[in-house]
């Protein structure tokens, strides 16, 4: 299957999953909110129409996809505002926090290889398995004990710094582990290059820099797939940190049984994460010498 077909089908699948989960979980939100008793049949009919509950599922799905395309998926029950506008407002904060944390992790893993070589100590390899929310819990502890970052939800400079720190802590051991794996891959035949450079007396950091330059393309492609992964996990990190991005919006949508908000936030977050992963795979196909050689 071509990448474009895969991308279109993948995005469609995300929209279908979002709509079907929201619709299946939805049932009748007004019952869940305890409002049904106070509403007459006409009011319920109007509400069901406003939230798209009176449509058959296939038609509702098409309306939802059309709504996503024209940035109008309906109102959020929780905030009483258009869900897409809320998601649009939150999205840049998520991208900013994760993007900055990712760049810091990308650069620090590369710097590690240049200064210390591609060998990764066992404890760092072990850290690469820890999920990001462990670091978010550490931030929560710091918030209670040291008063930093501030406990109240928001996306101010201190919250952003804490978010960047969490993403960096979660990502750099993984990126370093992945980078070391690429360098050690016999398919790249890097041993002869390093041996030749050492034989002519090149200092170790130059040998490492040369190694890094050679593997930069596959490393970047690998890093892109990690970025996609961390983007979608913002749904766990942001609620713990109280960072008001798209992940927190998704969590609030689910926790408060606001299906329109949850479906909109999930579709946006999932689509962006999917796009990043597919872009990473495209970069891999184009730039990774192990794949382009085949």
């Amino acid at each position: 299957m071509g990448l474009v077909a895969e991308l279109v089908l993948g995005l469609l699948l995300i929209a279908v999953l979002a709509y079907v989960s929201a619709r299946a979980g939805l049932g009748n939100p007004f019952t869940g909110l305890g409002a049904e008793q106070g509403l007459g049949p006409e009011e319920l009919r109007v509400l069901r129409h406003v939230y798209g509950l009176d449509e058959p599922v296939p038609r509702g799905l098409l309306s939802f996809i059309y709504g996503v395309l024209r940035a109008d998926t309906g109102p959020s029950i929780l905030y009483n505002k258009p869900a897409f506008a809320l998601a649009e407002e939150a999205l840049p904060w998520t991208l900013l926090g994760i993007g900055a944390g990712f760049l810091a992790a990308y650069a620090s893993a590369a710097l590690w290889v240049v200064l210390l070589g591609p060998g990764v100590p066992r404890p760092v390899r072990g850290l690469s398995f820890l999920p990001g929310y462990f670091y978010a819990v550490l931030m929560l502890l710091s918030s209670w004990w040291l008063g930093w970052p501030p406990a109240l939800p928001g996306h101010g400079a201190e919250k952003l710094a804490a978010y960047v720190l969490v993403v960096w802590l979660a990502l750099w051991p993984r990126l370093l582990h992945g980078l070391a794996g690429i360098v050690e891959d016999p398919g790249l035949e890097l041993a002869s290059v390093t041996q030749a450079m050492r034989a002519i007396g090149a200092p170790e950091h130059r040998v490492n820099a040369r190694l890094l330059r050679t593997v930069l393309a596959p490393y970047t492609a690998y890093a892109a797939t990690m970025l996609g992964m961390v983007l979608e996990r913002s749904a766990i990190l942001e609620p713990l940190l109280g960072y008001t991005g798209l992940g927190l919006l998704l969590y609030r949508g689910v926790a408060s049984a606001d299906p329109v908000l949850a479906a909109t936030a999930f579709t946006l977050l999932g689509a962006i994460a999917y796009l990043v992963v597919v872009a990473g795979r495209l970069a891999e196909r184009l730039l990774d010498p192990r794949l382009s050689r085949r």
């Binding site: 209670w144 979608e232 766990i236 609620p239 926790a255 999930f266 977050l269 999932g270």
Partner: protein, 257 residues
């Protein structure tokens, strides 16, 4: 061989731990004052609602282990199916396409979305994570199976009339088992973390005790983390989550090595 025996012993002891938790911590009643400091009668103190925290932690271990074993089973099923499919060129291509399509799907956000429909049990989370996390490995397993199926010794086996199931059992499965175990180990440890993460946010099954729930309760109760009992429960629950995930990862990987 010794490594494999040790790995099997680790997996067996995790299963025994689950049985012990069913015997000694079938339920943890609210019977004490909240957040009592650790003592001889309550080694981890009491939790923010007044239950013995050790009982909660013991009961929570089974959720993590159940999720891990469910993910392991799902992952082995998906990977074995792709291995079988990989032997045929057409089915192998189908596995490639499906795996490529689904492998990039958001996993944690999807589990969160599903919480709108139902609060998934640890086994449900394990089965979903196990299947989704193995899809990338499914491509690798199918490709590897295809490579082995084209090798000379498999051709020779075919030439002497060996049936396909014998070829799979004698040649293809042993040569792909290592990579299958590697992916299954990642899936099982991912399920432990996913179950704990969702429960920490209150999106796990409400009736099932979980280590994530123990941690989440401490984190969400104002000031609980500043008490001796709260801190002990938080550290114990997260350390156990990490330990179970790591043990599952190492044990399954070593069995395959």
């Amino acid at each position: 061989m010794e490594k494999r025996a040790a790995s099997l012993a680790v997996l067996a002891s995790l299963a025994i731990l689950v049985i012990i938790s069913y015997v000694y911590a079938p339920s943890c009643p609210i019977a004490f004052a909240p957040l009592e400091p650790p003592s001889r009668s309550h080694p981890l103190g009491t939790d923010p609602v007044g239950r013995d925290a050790l009982c909660e932690v013991l009961a929570g271990i089974r959720a993590s282990v159940e999720a891990a074993f469910a993910a392991l089973a799902a992952s082995l099923a998906v990977l074995s199916a792709s291995l079988l499919a990989g032997v045929s060129a057409r089915a192998g291509r189908l596995v490639d396409s499906v795996a490529a399509l689904v492998a990039g799907l958001p996993r944690m956000s999807l589990l969160m979305m599903l919480a709108l429909v139902t609060r998934l049990s640890p086994i449900g989370i394990g089965l979903l994570i196990g299947s989704l996390a193995s899809l990338q490995g499914a491509r690798a397993a199918a490709t590897r199976a295809r490579q082995v199926a084209r090798s000379l010794y498999v051709e020779a086996a075919r030439a002497i009339g060996a049936p396909w199931y014998r070829i799979v059992a004698r040649h293809i499965a042993p040569n792909t088992w290592s990579s299958i175990a590697s992916y299954a180990s990642i899936a099982s440890s991912a399920a432990v973390y996913a179950e704990a993460g969702l429960s920490m946010l209150g999106l796990g099954s409400p009736a099932t005790p979980s280590l994530g729930k123990v941690a989440g309760l401490v984190l969400l109760t104002p000031g609980a983390v500043l008490t001796e009992a709260g801190l002990a429960q938080l550290v114990a629950s997260l350390a156990l989550v990490a330990a179970i995930a790591m043990l599952m990862y190492l044990a399954v990987r070593l069995i395959g090595s």
